[in-house]
């Protein structure tokens, strides 16, 4: 009894409270909540962290539920400097949420973050910036701007990444800052770390997507970094690059039929003028570097690559995306939904691509309706003469589905197949007519509507179908279907002259009970019959029109009045009634059943705007291809930079090399390497300084070179020695970063992190006087420097540094034919700095006459397709008896075709041509032994050419072989364990394909020469040349 009464009591108090709630004004409730908050305030003011934490947790829970907790602001903001890390984080959450409402109080916290920005720990700096920039208070805009600028040149890439994130925040707070922010973006775009790349491109897209010019210099770097950027960044970068490419490159499908088909004449004329299309190497680079990302686990990345290929790739290459997109269809239904929308658009343009995957779009009864309908759309788009029978059989099973919306969509799909493919029109029509006897009214109605559309195409042959449908008016109730039938009978009343008046009679009887659209069609039918068969239907028509005159719906009254005036001749009726018959019974064009996805591809695929088929806010139009390609040289960067970018290319690639080493090596070695590379990335600042140091070291090691060149020691020993030297130097570098590598291996990370940070800080402070610029003069040197930086072993590169003493001079213009002007040229083997894809040709003019030669320059180059020339600056005066050297660049497109041009003086023109020996079409590539083996493994089969040879008498020692090979071809030596083998590696200048050469000495004078090269022609020619050099 006791407990019962107690529970009663409880319920009664509860109901009391509820009563109170409903009765009392809002103020009282507020007091109650305020009371609650007082409790929290007390907890926040206490000096126990656990109490504070508990309070903050409750406050955050309130925020999460959407309850207002803004009145606690002063109490919370006090704790912003709390020592407890979780309290601090929750305070940040609170602060960011309410700062906008409590601007003045929020300012109290700013100093804490400003202090945080100076913290030696990079993660604290980053989080301080993150919170500071999230506080939406206009007053602190200048502080934020300053903080962002500072962070953008922070040495930690993580802080720089946070700076990139902060840019759009500031921009949304104060768009006035745009110009300054663009400067920061420009700076961060030049960043070479993968961590920053995605975030800064994101900022670029939000702040200044129109400044496409900022991308030029970073384009190649972005392409190369792409695979190592985190997945979300990849999506943003790929989408941006798609737009970029559309403005900078030519349409690769311009020669294809598509366009020419529509604008034949204009296009043909333009085609005649246009040079044959050659893809810009940068365009190719983008396509090549994005392709592996089709294998990403992230659906958004796959979609981004797919749209890039769809919008940019030559038609023949787009096919690769189909497989990946079909794979995405296995994912969650939301992903399926988006992918199918895009596939539907693609199938309209490029049907062939998805045809092999037809069956993947078959519909399962368990699919949600919206997915079913999209799949149906795709199947319809894919239908053609060859697969239509399978598709129709599949459709037949769909019609039996329980999902009636889906059945209706299927019937429409059948209708579309029938209009698109003439062969099956009759089959489809018969099938649809059978559906007219279906028990489900929706099915019948939908069939009627579709049949109506089909019949419009060839009504004469199908009067029996029309008759059949006329009978349906007795049973079918769906207004749309009834209206369709009536329209059909009216339109083709001549084919069914007996039935039509009878249908009108029946309809007149039920007129008042019909739906509006049916009534309109009844009037329509009456009018048409009156015009064709007025004898039988005159009275009926009058009756119907009279009924309509008093209808409730004014549309119908209106129509009735209009039609009466038009068809019934009275003295007042105007000129129009004469034409009534023409007006009503004009031949109507058959409706075109089109896919709703037609022409959607003018939106960038994968975008929100494409999905909605409407422009979303902030959508950037996908520009049309330019008519002629803008200058490709804007993307050129200085040689040393490009080499460096190539070096940092892939972490995955590097990790690969690492793993191979780790097979034999120990753990410590690995972590060492890692810390090195990490350090390297972090210390962009110190880099210049480091380079300077290293340069000195290289300089020191340089004097060794002539010794090694002269020494007759067996080269195996020599190699060892140099390697040792290399190692020593490497350990030298390591000693600098000793602290890091040691602390890395110790367990306490956070500490070591700080330690190493402070360490680098000190280094920064100690920074000596500005380092001397690495001048690009001796680019071989800087090359080796870079390879050193990359942690590759330096071993034999010393050998290749030796400038080939045997530079051969070729004659361009003989003294006699040149009337005293002699021109010679040689391949200097220096990288041609304005364009790395060009071979540098050094040209020497000698004036043997007694008078001055003026304005020496090049005219009218006649080049094979794809070849390009970079002329030397005009020589104004060449005094008698003097000679002068100039350098020009030629992109031979990796072929030995001659470059023809005219050499002009102020009085004469000479036809000359430069034909490169195959060995000059390449530049040295620096590989390790492992890399060499790996690359060689990939270039087997057709790409490998081997030849046996007998070495010439003077050519027995390795030293000579090396010399001969390197003088024949511009290759670098690759270290090799065995002293019987010599290996060389290079890259073709224009396309960068690897060229690998191996000479293996056998007993006696026998040897085996192997060349591996993707370009077989180059390989074959190179074999011939080297063979000749070695057998002499």
């Amino acid at each position: 009894l006791h407990s019962a009464s107690q529970s009663e009591l409880i319920t009664s108090t509860e109901s009391c409270f509820r009563h109170l709630h409903s009765l009392l004004p809002d103020d009282f409730l507020n007091i109650i909540t305020l009371d609650l908050h007082d409790d929290l305030k007390e907890m926040l003011d206490s000096n126990k962290d656990s109490l504070k934490l508990e309070a903050m947790k409750r406050i955050v829970a309130m925020i999460a539920r959407g309850k207002n907790a803004s009145d606690l602001f002063p109490a919370v903001v006090k704790n912003v400097a709390c020592k407890n890390i979780e309290v601090k984080k929750l305070v940040y959450v609170y602060l960011v949420r309410y700062a906008e409402e409590q601007q003045d109080l929020a300012l109290l916290s700013i100093s804490t973050f400003q202090r945080g920005l100076k913290d030696p720990n990079q993660l604290i700096r980053a989080s301080a910036l993150r919170v500071l920039s999230s506080i939406r208070v206009t007053i602190i805009v200048p502080i934020m701007m300053l903080a962002i600028k500072e962070a953008a040149s922070d040495m930690s890439p993580y802080v720089r990444k946070t700076a990139a994130h902060a840019i759009p925040k500031l921009y949304s707070l104060d768009p006035e800052q745009k110009d300054q922010l663009i400067e920061v973006i420009e700076k961060l775009l030049a960043d070479k770390t993968t961590l920053v790349a995605g975030s800064v491109v994101m900022a670029f897209e939000e702040v200044c997507p129109e400044r496409i010019d900022l991308i030029h210099k970073n384009y190649r770097k972005l392409c190369n970094l792409l695979i190592d950027v985190e997945e979300w960044g990849q999506v943003v970068i790929i989408n941006m690059l798609t737009r970029y490419a559309r403005t900078q490159f030519l349409n690769p499908n311009i020669n294809g039929g598509e366009k020419a088909f529509y604008e034949k004449k204009a296009e043909a004329a333009a085609l005649a003028k246009r040079k044959p299309y050659v893809m810009d190497p940068d365009h190719r680079l983008l396509l090549r570097n994005t392709k592996p990302l089709l294998q990403s686990r992230n659906a958004a990345v796959v979609m981004a690559v797919a749209q890039l290929y769809f919008h940019l790739a030559p038609k023949a290459e787009v096919g690769v995306i189909a497989k990946a997109l079909v794979r995405l269809m296995r994912s969650h239904s939301e992903v399926q939904y988006v992918v199918l929308q895009n596939v539907a658009t693609m199938t309209i343009k490029r049907r062939g691509m998805f045809e092999p995957y037809l069956k993947s779009f078959y519909i399962r009864s368990t699919d949600p309706t919206q997915i079913k309908i999209l799949k149906l759309e795709v199947l319809t788009n894919l239908a053609n003469e060859t697969n239509i029978s399978t598709i129709l059989r599949e459709f037949q099973t769909y019609i039996k589905s329980m999902d009636k919306d889906f059945v209706a969509a299927t019937i429409q799909a059948i209708g579309r197949c029938a209009t698109n493919i003439g062969e099956v029109r009759d089959t489809c029509l018969n099938g649809l007519v059978q559906l007219l006897s279906n028990r489900d009214e929706l099915v019948v109605a939908e069939s009627v509507v579709v049949i109506k559309k089909l019949l419009q195409m060839q009504p004469e042959q199908h009067s029996d179908i029309i008759k059949h449908m006329a009978k349906l008016t007795d049973n079918i109730q769906v207004p749309m279907a009834r209206a369709s039938i009536l329209w059909l009978i009216g339109e083709y009343c001549e084919h069914v002259p007996k039935i039509a008046p009878d249908v009108l009679r029946k309809m007149a009887k039920t007129f008042t009970n019909e739906e509006d659209i049916v009534k309109l069609q009844i009037i329509n039918l009456a009018a048409k019959l009156y015009l064709t068969n007025s004898k039988q239907t005159k009275l009926l028509t009058q009756y119907v029109l009279n009924l309509a005159k008093y209808d409730q719906n004014y549309d119908i009254r209106d129509r009735a009045r209009f039609i009466r005036q038009l068809i019934v001749p009275t003295d007042k009726s105007g000129a129009l009634s004469k034409y009534a018959k023409k007006l009503f019974l004009a031949l109507k064009p058959a409706p075109v059943l089109e896919s709703p996805f037609k022409d959607r591809d003018h939106f960038q695929l994968g975008s929100l705007s494409h999905l909605l088929n409407a422009k979303a806010g902030g959508y950037q139009e996908l520009p049309d291809w330019p008519e002629s390609a803008p200058d490709p040289s804007v993307r050129n960067v200085e040689v040393k930079d490009s080499v460096r970018a190539g070096g940092t290319v892939t972490l995955r690639g590097r990790a690969l090399g690492l793993s191979e080493e780790s097979g034999s090596g120990s753990e410590s070695e690995e972590s060492e390497e890692e810390s090195e590379s990490e350090e390297e990335e972090e210390e962009e600042e110190d880099e210049e300084e480091e380079r300077a140091k290293k340069k000195k070291k290289v300089d020191k090691s340089k004097p060794k070179k002539p010794e090694s060149a002269e020494s007759d020691q067996s080269s195996g020993e020599e190699q060892k020695r140099i390697r040792k030297g290399g190692k020593d130097r490497r350990s030298g570098t390591e000693s600098e970063s000793e602290d890091e590598s040691e602390s890395e291996s110790s367990e306490s990370e956070s500490e070591s992190e700080e330690e190493s940070e402070s360490d680098t800080d000190i280094k920064k402070k100690k920074k000596p006087t500005p380092s001397p610029q690495v001048t690009p003069v001796n680019s071989f040197l800087s090359n080796s420097l870079v390879t050193d930086l990359e942690g590759l072993s330096l071993t034999d590169t010393v050998l290749t540094i030796a400038p080939s003493s045997s530079v051969r001079l070729y004659e361009l213009l003989h003294r006699i034919t040149g009337e005293g002007l002699a021109v010679e040229y040689c391949f200097s083997r220096q990288p041609f700095s304005p364009d790395p894809h060009m071979v540098a040709v050094q040209i020497q003019f000698t004036n043997n006459t007694t008078s001055e030669a003026k304005s020496l320059h090049i005219e009218e180059p006649k080049l094979q397709s794809g070849m390009r020339i970079k002329e030397f600056p005009e020589i104004e005066v060449l005094p008698a008896g003097e000679s002068v050297n100039v350098v020009m660049g030629i992109d031979f497109c990796d072929s030995t075709q001659a470059a023809n041009f005219q050499l002009c003086t102020h009085i004469r023109k000479f036809f000359v041509s430069i034909q490169p020996p195959v060995g000059e079409l390449m530049t040295p590539a620096f590989l390790t032994e492992n890399e060499f083996k790996k690359e060689q493994g990939q270039l087997m089969g057709m790409n490998e050419i081997s030849e046996k040879l007998t070495l010439g008498e003077k050519c027995q020692s390795e030293h000579v072989i090396v010399e001969r090979v390197t003088s024949t071809a511009n290759l670098s030596r690759v270290p090799c364990g065995s002293d019987k083998e010599s290996r060389f590696a290079g890259k073709t200048v224009s396309s960068g394909s690897l060229v690998l050469v191996t000479v293996t000495r056998k007993d006696g004078a026998g040897a085996l020469l192997t060349v591996n090269c993707e370009k077989m022609v180059i390989g074959t020619m190179l074999v011939k040349d080297i063979l000749q050099a070695l057998t002499q």
Binding site: L53, I63, R65, V93, M303, V339, P368, M402, S609, A616
Partner: protein
Amino acid sequence: MIHSLFLVNATGDIFLEKHWKSVVSRSVCDYFFEAQERATEPENIPPVIPTPHHYLISVLRHRIYFVAVIQSEVPPLFVIEFLHRVVDTFQDYFGVCTEAAIKDNVVVVYELLEEMLDNGFPLATESNILKELIKPPTILRTVVNTITGSTNVGEQLPTGQLSVVPWRRTGVKYTNNEAYFDVVEEIDAIIDKSGSTITAEIQGVIDACVKLTGMPDLTLSFMNPRLLDDVSFHPCVRFKRWEAERILSFIPPDGNFRLLSYHVSSQNLVAIPVYVKHNITFREGSSQGRFDLTLGPKQTMGKAVESVLVSSQLPRGVLNTSLNPSQGTYTFDPVTKLLSWDVGKINPQKLPSLKGTMSLQAGASKPDENPTINIQFKIQQLAISGLKVNRLDMYGEKYKPFKGIKYMTKAGKFQVRT
């Protein structure tokens, strides 16, 4: 990018909201509720809903709608993929992703969401990094926390974000070093009335559970890598090595992760491990229908077919059923018309069958559609495509790990049309 996130339960209550930029009123969800009302089934709500000022992108998982609010152009898949990643993370943290679990751990959820997005752009989505920042709640830790007042937030600063292998946390230590790989293949198939295969394909995944100390570098090679037609990798897999040698080489994340998912080309004939004999008829004019279903094994490579579950959506006209299963249990829900039969293991000597009658609405005409039969099953120790792992090697660490590989075949979307 992502402006706000609302979590909505099946009854239409918003039980959590989080804003990354300025606050968006929760009334924006009214558009979502409108769409919910229009859609007959929960899965038919369009994933993208335009409203006058915002766009709503939603995913439905575990009966919770995750509704993201965005304001300007963003690839929809970007948002969808991210939302799914959020759900995966919750599941990883709390074991289940239910409304109750989220409400119980609301602070952790909030901290997670805070770390995952910055200004609406994904910041840290790798579970290994997040776990360094915010420790997942365990019973033990909750107890310890309440007593000692210590926190869930990691004391150390996350170094993983800065390393070259961002997916692996540093300083991992185990006493038992072990690496398990599950090769799981699913058969998607549509079988037509006569029993012939209309379409069949195999989708496989390799899920890994790797608990290894330090920074191990693993390689996994297959006996028959050519089988794999289309693959997608965890970011840790070195793509070039795969391209060149068809070997999976990777530094694994710590814990559970999906190493690889693949597709076996449809050119290869897919073995269908079960067959169904069915006879489902409705007679005109009678209020009875016959239902007769027999299952049998086919091409199972000698392995047993287990955990078989048959389900079918019967036509609306069916009022009730009276069926007799030779084994297992069956249920029929007269409201949703869903028939499901839990068969268990198929014994090849005595084939399981389900026979009996269905009672139809009196006077109604015979349903003209025939139900589809969905089948689920499992076959242990068999990868139906014939894929076999050749060997697993570890480099970079000195200890000997315990390695294990398990194969399993399951039915994916396996449908029989009748």
